[in-house]
Symmetry: C2
Subunit: 359 residues, 2 copies
């Protein structure tokens, strides 16, 4: 934090240098180096290669199968909703709705988080109730308001199509009964591990490219660290790696933080976790409005202002908010290119779609 | 038709040749040639290149834009439903539901036809009420039970995103105001013209490959022509090119042909068009169950039996039905490989999703 405070002072100093171009350039270079040093203490460059997944080697066969399953609407009982419905890979990895629409047009309770870079999060869901993407993948498939299916129905569906059986056999070699709900989740996890967005402008700055960020974006980065945002939003995903109370200084309005959703309390059942949520991972944040677990805030600048007030007890001025938002928009990385999978055709043994609302 | 009847007799004759391998081979070759000649009178090989579209040159820029729009959920007022929701390019170009599910989980009135090879149909929809794919594309966007949007909302949505404005400007060069509802439809039509499935085994047979079809499939093809199926199901799409009464000899049950859907009558308002529908295009038919405009029949063999009874007044035996179904399964072509488009991010000016059911 110290380095950053120095940097802020340097920024002020460099403003005095107008007219002394050579000096200003030298000062800018020094500032950039100090800023980078501070930033590298807080953040990590996103890798450009697929990360390893604990207990689930990411093989080509698993990724290919996982991609099919990610786009497979027959994992839902209506045969209409796939993972990609709410985690749309063409829309920043989420649905850009306040909260998702699921089976029977029911509204989900919380905003769908992006699947991009989710592999780097400490745990999954806003309350971290799934330890990893494998555990996460099993949730929406079974949730009545989402895909409204069951493990049995999923396995029957997948086993009914010989092409899926072949894919599972190749993806899980040596297993006697490879088509299982667990293996479905493992394959989806392996595919999702490939959904990373490297080479954002911010990463390029971290790696030494001074010119890739504007002055305003650098000011925003400095402010992000200096104001305390980076205390929770840090690491490779600039968040997603720890749990914090929402409204630590001042609770935001009930539309943004409704009393009936106590966040992580429902997972740990300890009073300390009242209204505690996983810090939002901020990569590609400009693609994933609306914001917060309620999805009630559509404007990035407004979201920054709310965070400053509620988490830091700071009223940021418009210029500072604009700078932080400009910095946050440098976190947009290169989205993965996905060839849309051609799915196996249903057979007589494939369960028919249930189009009614689940009771 | 004459050639086919001869062929059927030849098939009988060739059965006598068992044990005389050389003679049998010569007879088979002659039979294949006769069968191909008859088939080429009824059917056309699907082209492997994108066909021209009347009044709408299929440019690369238009296709790229059309692909984005095809996958664009913000064309619906909920921001959840895209063309691909019901015409899923990974599922044979349709949704494999009896009738589609749209805005507010409403059920549509008829089974979603496949978008694959739709460019070759005489007109679009089961009743042919849209002259072409451009006209078709405007329907579901506005239908209350489908995407529930309006031309104004669509144009406001598209104009709100600079990246879309750029794409339209490139796709419709020289136009003063390129972002229009009409141009949206033209771009979608251009993309859909690329969604053709060449090189089915049947096409390869038409082009001279005797060995590509099995004996049963050839028998099925001969029966398809000889029984009269090909009177309505012919041309490049093996259907889709003419209008015929459903139940011309005997009306099927009310579940399959309900009294309240009079088909093309609603378009032409002439009594002659009571229960008249466009003959179903049969390419990729094995991928597009359930069948008929009501989607009430899931089994291809059953559908063949119903057609024989209701349209031809013929009770086909199981062996004949199996042969025709086997032939129909040779109509599955090579599905297009689609790179999933990355869509522009919404701006402050983009209309927010309407998640309620349209009044």
């Amino acid at each position: 934090m110290k380095t950053t405070r120095i940097f802020i002072r340097l920024l002020g100093a460099s403003a005095l240098c107008i007219g002394f171009a050579a000096n200003a350039l030298a000062a800018d270079t020094a500032n950039d180096a100090a800023l980078r040093k501070a930033a590298n203490d807080y953040f990590e460059v996103i890798p450009s290669a697929v990360p390893a997944v604990k207990g689930n080697p990411v093989t080509h066969e698993k990724v290919e199968l996982g991609k099919m399953l990610f786009f497979e609407p027959r994992l839902s009982s209506s045969a209409l909703i796939s993972c990609n419905t709410c985690h749309n890979l063409g829309m920043g990895g989420d649905d850009n709705l306040e909260t998702s629409i699921g089976h029977g047009w029911q509204k989900g309770p919380r905003n769908a988080p992006t699947v991009f870079n989710a592999v780097f999060n400490i745990a999954q869901f806003w309350d971290g109730r799934a330890a990893d993407l494998k555990a996460q993948a099993k949730g929406p498939v079974q949730a009545g308001v989402e895909m409204a299916s069951t493990p049995e129905r999923v396995v029957t569906t997948l086993k009914s199509m010989p092409e899926y059986v072949e894919h599972f056999t190749r993806a899980f070699p040596g297993e006697k009964d490879p088509v299982t709900f667990d293996n479905m989740a493992k394959a989806i996890e392996a595919f999702e591990a490939t959904l990373i967005t490297p080479a954002s402008r911010f990463d390029q700055f971290l790696e030494g490219n001074d010119a890739i960020l504007t002055k305003q974006e650098k000011e925003g980065l400095a402010l992000f660290m200096d104001s305390g945002c980076a205390s929770c939003h840090n690491g490779v995903n600039i968040g997603g790696n720890g749990y914090y109370p929402f409204g630590v200084v001042e609770k935001p309005g009930a539309d943004i933080l409704p009393a009936n959703d106590k966040g992580r309390f429902a997972v740990t059942h300890t009073a300390d976790d009242d209204y505690v949520f996983r810090a939002g991972p901020l990569r590609n944040i400009e693609l994933t409005a609306p914001y917060f677990h309620t999805g009630k805030v559509w404007d990035l600048e407004q979201a920054v202002g709310i965070m400053a007030t509620s988490q830091l007890g700071t009223e940021l001025d418009d210029k500072s908010i604009a700078a932080i938002a400009a910095f946050l928009r440098t976190l947009t990385g290169q989205e993965p290119q996905i060839v849309y999978p051609i799915l196996p055709v249903s057979t007589h043994a494939t369960p028919r779609p249930k189009e009614m609302i689940a009771k």
